[in-house]
């Protein structure tokens, strides 16, 4: 007789869900995780990881095309789209196995199927189409003292822009294309839209990005987004901001889009494919939240700083619990949630300390308040900047297009935000995240030694610049 009663059950095995389950198991809870399609969720299977694999192929392809810049030669450089995608799927597969191993290692039961909450700690699991991993529990009635909803999010659908999986793609199709489009319209310039624009542009497509807001990468600092935009445009990506796709006319193997340019004009653009990347919405429907009276707002479950919903015993973490919809935010939210259940008094999530990364070329990374948001919050600030052209390593790497910008509270010296664009910045931002989490002031950063020669030196220079002490400019 299989176990049907648990201390903690996590619904959804995405990066937030499976990490939450591991932490729960570490804390001694009898834990299970419910998954209906693929261990690791979107992130592992259709998001973060496979796109990084694709972008890596694009990056190497880009370097090969520019081999001359480095004194090398590479003739007849080309690529096999099937092999590029196969590599990406191979990476996914390896990580699926990893999650399954981690569940086993931590003695977490996998319940395979689709869960519906019945109230009172009970839930029912129906069979799903996907093949269950070996040893997983099947459909049936279960119960748990604490149910953590980690059902994630799915692409937002705008009227008139409904994806059809053939001509109008979401990220699912975009990372597994049947053929390489020659021309592409990307609707939305958030991280997902920009990453695909960057990938397909490198792979040779004509790419147009339409963004309804005046700024691309709308959550980023305006100066950084502006810098990135110039780089994208230099690469040949066409960007229309403050514009809107009003109509899509689908042909047999092409789409004609009508675009309101926001200045009173209308343009018509015919492309092979359209990617709709207008954001994601939480998966809150169809599994009993409504019946239990769990409070939701704007497509997401409402939680307190510890993942608690308004219904006792029901918690939510990750995308389904609201923005920013990022895997690392989900993970941390899950850990706080489980530790709070354990009575460990963790600090509640501070959303200002969640970094964000976009893996386009050049990369964009940030944490904390943008200059505009800091001003909006009424802070008296000091801003420092440093361009990659002043950094030896960046020049040696042939990556001299980038900049670091830091925002300090003038009065307390608190680092309020850091914003970066350029090579490797997604790996560098963590330095500032640690600094902010430890509540350093400018002084500790002045006294922190950055290794030479590294691109990270630009971070220190930006800090010095904020206090009029920049050295290499």
């Amino acid at each position: 007789m299989a176990d049907t009663s648990f201390d903690v059950v996590v619904i959804g095995s995405g990066p937030g869900g499976y990490v939450t389950a591991i932490r729960a198991a570490q804390l001694g809870f009898k834990t299970a995780i419910v998954e209906k399609a693929y261990l690791g969720g979107i992130c592992n299977n259709w998001g973060c990881i496979p796109t990084k694999a694709l972008l890596r192929s694009a990056e190497i392809y880009h370097y090969m095309q520019h081999a001359k810049d480095y004194g090398l030669s590479a003739e007849n450089v080309s690529f096999d789209p099937k092999a590029v995608i196969a590599r990406s799927r191979g990476v996914v597969k390896r990580l699926n196995g990893g999650v399954e191993f981690l569940m086993k290692k931590n003695k977490i039961s996998i319940i395979w199927g689709e869960a519906t909450l019945d109230g009172g700690g009970k839930f029912t699991v129906k069979a799903s189409q996907a093949e269950a991993p070996k040893g997983a529990l099947g459909p049936g009635s279960y119960q748990a003292r604490h149910i953590i909803v980690a059902t994630g999010a799915r692409p937002r659908v705008l009227p008139g822009l409904e994806p059809d999986k053939k001509l109008v793609w979401t990220y699912f199709e975009a990372m597994n294309p049947d053929k390489m489009p020659k021309s592409l319209l990307v609707v939305g310039s958030g991280a997902i839209g920009i990453e695909f624009a960057s990938f397909y542009k490198t792979m040779g497509a004509e790419v147009t990005v339409v963004e309804v807001l005046p700024q691309i990468l709308p959550v980023e600092d305006a100066e950084i987004a502006g810098f990135a935009r110039k780089q994208f445009e230099k690469q040949g990506i066409k960007i229309m901001s403050g514009a809107k796709v009003t109509k899509l006319d689908k042909k047999a193997d092409s789409v004609t889009a009508t675009i309101d340019d926001g200045k009173g004009g209308t343009q018509s653009l015919t492309v092979d494919r359209v990617i709709s990347a207008v954001g994601v919405v939480g998966n809150i429907e169809g599994f009993g939240l409504e019946k239990l009276g769990v409070k939701t707002e704007r497509g997401c479950i409402v939680i307190d700083g510890y993942g608690k919903t308004n219904v006792a015993g029901i918690y939510a973490i990750g995308d389904v619990a609201g923005p920013p919809m990022l895997a690392h935010k989900a993970e941390h939210e899950g850990i706080i949630c489980v530790e709070a259940i354990k009575g460990m008094h963790p600090h509640p999530m501070d959303k200002l300390l969640i970094p964000g990364c976009t893996y386009c070329h050049p990369q964009v990374a940030s944490v904390g308040l943008t200059e505009a948001k800091a001003k909006e919050a009424g802070k008296d600030i000091r801003v420092g900047r440093f361009p990659f052209v002043g950094n030896g390593k960046a020049i040696a790497q042939g990556e001299d297009q980038g900049m670091v910008k830091v925002v300090f509270d003038k009065k307390t010296g608190q680092l309020l935000g850091a914003h970066m664009v350029g090579a490797e910045v997604t790996e560098l931002i963590q330095g500032f995240v640690v600094a902010m989490n430890l509540e350093t002031t400018e002084e500790e950063l002045f006294h922190t030694i950055f290794p030479h020669p590294t691109i990270s030196e630009t971070m220190k220079e930006a800090v010095l610049d904020a206090y009029g002490r920049v050295l290499n400019m």
Binding site: H345, H347, K411, T412, G413, Q414, L438, E439, T440, T441, E443, E444
Partner: protein, 462 residues
């Protein structure tokens, strides 16, 4: 030129005091030596004498003001022939030399600073109540914790430290909610709002680390356990805070062990009767001395420490201080606290001298009239609860001393002598020893030496 009257330092470690009372008012003429005000510190009330002649032009700190930092201007004196009004308006804005930078007017907790003898920090010509200017014992801080010793570091984030400094909140008062109790910015914000703020360290501590340590429970937690109105909340006076802080520090920092012996008082009682009977009478017809058992205890302890000089010591991080004299503190109960005035060089004093000195010290202690040098320092102490019928107890060592003798009541007990049960007048005493300075065998030697003396009081004459 109007003269600023400054808050005097009554002891080397004093940083603040309460202005208890003004004995002169604005417009009063004073001459050198006149008592103009009373200042209250943790343990004593001191009189402030005028040094210069003149007229009190303005009183800047009203009586009853708590925690007035040392060297703050408390009044302005107009010199002879000076315009009182002009002095009143012009005074009180002291020059840098008169008002050291660390003297603050808003009662903000001070950053730790080096203790300085008041004679050095107070301008020479200013009325610092000459009687109160301590001798060169300056720098003898009983709590040399200015350099945090290992384990007493307060973990805090850089931002939290800066915010706390700006808000004027001592880190020691903030409860840390970060990992391992680290103080983070939000804790400072909470503390500013009064949440989780611990009681301030007593004025005498002067350091951020010499507080009463992290309390087991916050005030809020304690208050939550009692119904409101079911208790009366009595504010701590500075003596209460000092007792709490010092004895907590002593308990936390000293590995202490206890040794108990029973002493036969037979010979002592006989000797005491004889000696007291022989006392001459003074002009009032009262005996010139009347020895108590406690006087014998003080003398015996003083001599025992001389016999076992290795136990007459104070621990410092750098070295062991071996004291040459036996300065014995004697605990005196006060209505809302206690104080331990010190019989200096007790080994050299006769029993009658000790007895009379003790009577004087106790009387002045009860009137809060002791000078700091009369209760600071000391090499060991005696605490006697015999008058309450306490059989035996343990006492908390008063640092920087290394031992204290807890004395129980003298009573008739059945004891076995030569196989026979007999009645004897017995007294139990318990020696508390700071193990850092005194090891078990050494403590045993000390208490044995004491026992020999108290059981054979004639040996005290030798």
């Amino acid at each position: 030129m109007p003269i600023n009257i400054l808050m005097p330092a009554l002891s080397p470690t004093m940083e603040k005091g309460n202005l208890a009372k003004w004995l002169k008012k604005e417009g009063d003429k004073v001459k050198s030596g006149d008592v103009i005000a009373e200042i209250e510190t943790d343990k004593a009330t001191m009189e402030v004498e005028a040094v210069d002649e003149g007229t009190i032009a303005k009183i800047l700190v009203p009586e009853g003001t708590q925690d007035v930092p040392v060297n703050n201007v408390i009044a302005v004196l107009a010199g002879d022939g000076e315009d009182v009004k002009a002095a009143a308006s012009g005074g009180g804005a002291p020059s840098k030399a008169e008002k050291p930078a660390e003297a603050k007017t808003d009662g903000k907790p001070e950053a730790p600073k080096k203790p300085e003898p008041a004679v050095a920090s107070a301008p020479a010509s200013k009325p610092t109540a000459s009687a109160s200017a301590p001798n060169a014992r300056g720098g003898e801080d009983p709590f040399p914790l200015k350099q945090p010793v290992s384990g007493s570091r307060i973990f805090s984030s850089p931002l939290a430290r800066r915010l706390a400094k700006e808000a004027g909140i001592e880190l020691a008062r903030i409860s840390g909610s970060g990992p391992h109790g680290r103080i983070v910015a939000r804790d400072v914000a909470d503390a500013k709002a009064g949440k989780g703020l611990k009681a301030p360290a007593a004025a005498a501590s002067g350091g951020t680390v010499a507080g009463t340590g992290a309390p087991a429970m916050s005030d809020q937690q304690i208050l939550a356990l009692y119904e409101e109105g079911a208790y009366e909340s009595i504010p701590h006076d500075s003596m209460r805070r000092t007792i709490a802080q010092r004895l907590t520090a002593a308990t936390n920092s000293m590995p202490t062990f206890y040794l108990t012996v029973d002493c036969d008082l037979g010979k002592l009682n006989a000797a005491r009767e004889e000696i007291n009977a022989a006392a001459g009478k003074n002009a009032d017809g009262k005996p010139v001395y009347k020895l108590s058992v406690n006087d014998f205890v003080i003398k015996a302890m003083a001599l025992a420490l001389q016999k076992i000089p290795e136990a007459n010591v104070s621990w410092t991080e750098a070295a062991m201080l071996r004291h040459k004299h036996s300065d014995i503190g004697v605990a005196v109960a006060l209505p809302f606290g206690l104080i331990t005035p010190i019989i200096r060089q007790a080994e050299l004093k006769s029993l009658s001298a000790i007895s009379n000195e003790m009577k004087d010290l106790a009387a002045r202690a009860k009137g809060k009239k002791l000078k700091p040098q009369e209760y600071q320092g000391g090499t060991s102490s005696v605490s006697n609860l015999g008058m309450y019928g306490i059989k035996d107890f343990t006492a908390v060592i008063n640092p920087p001393q290394s031992s204290i003798l807890a004395v129980g009541t003298g009573e008739d007990r059945a004891v076995v002598r030569n196989g026979q049960i007999v009645v004897a007048s017995m007294m139990s005493v318990t020696l508390s020893c700071d193990h850092r300075a005194i090891d078990g065998a050494l403590g045993a030697e000390l208490i044995t030496a004491f026992k020999k003396l108290i059981e054979n009081p004639v040996m005290m004459v030798v």
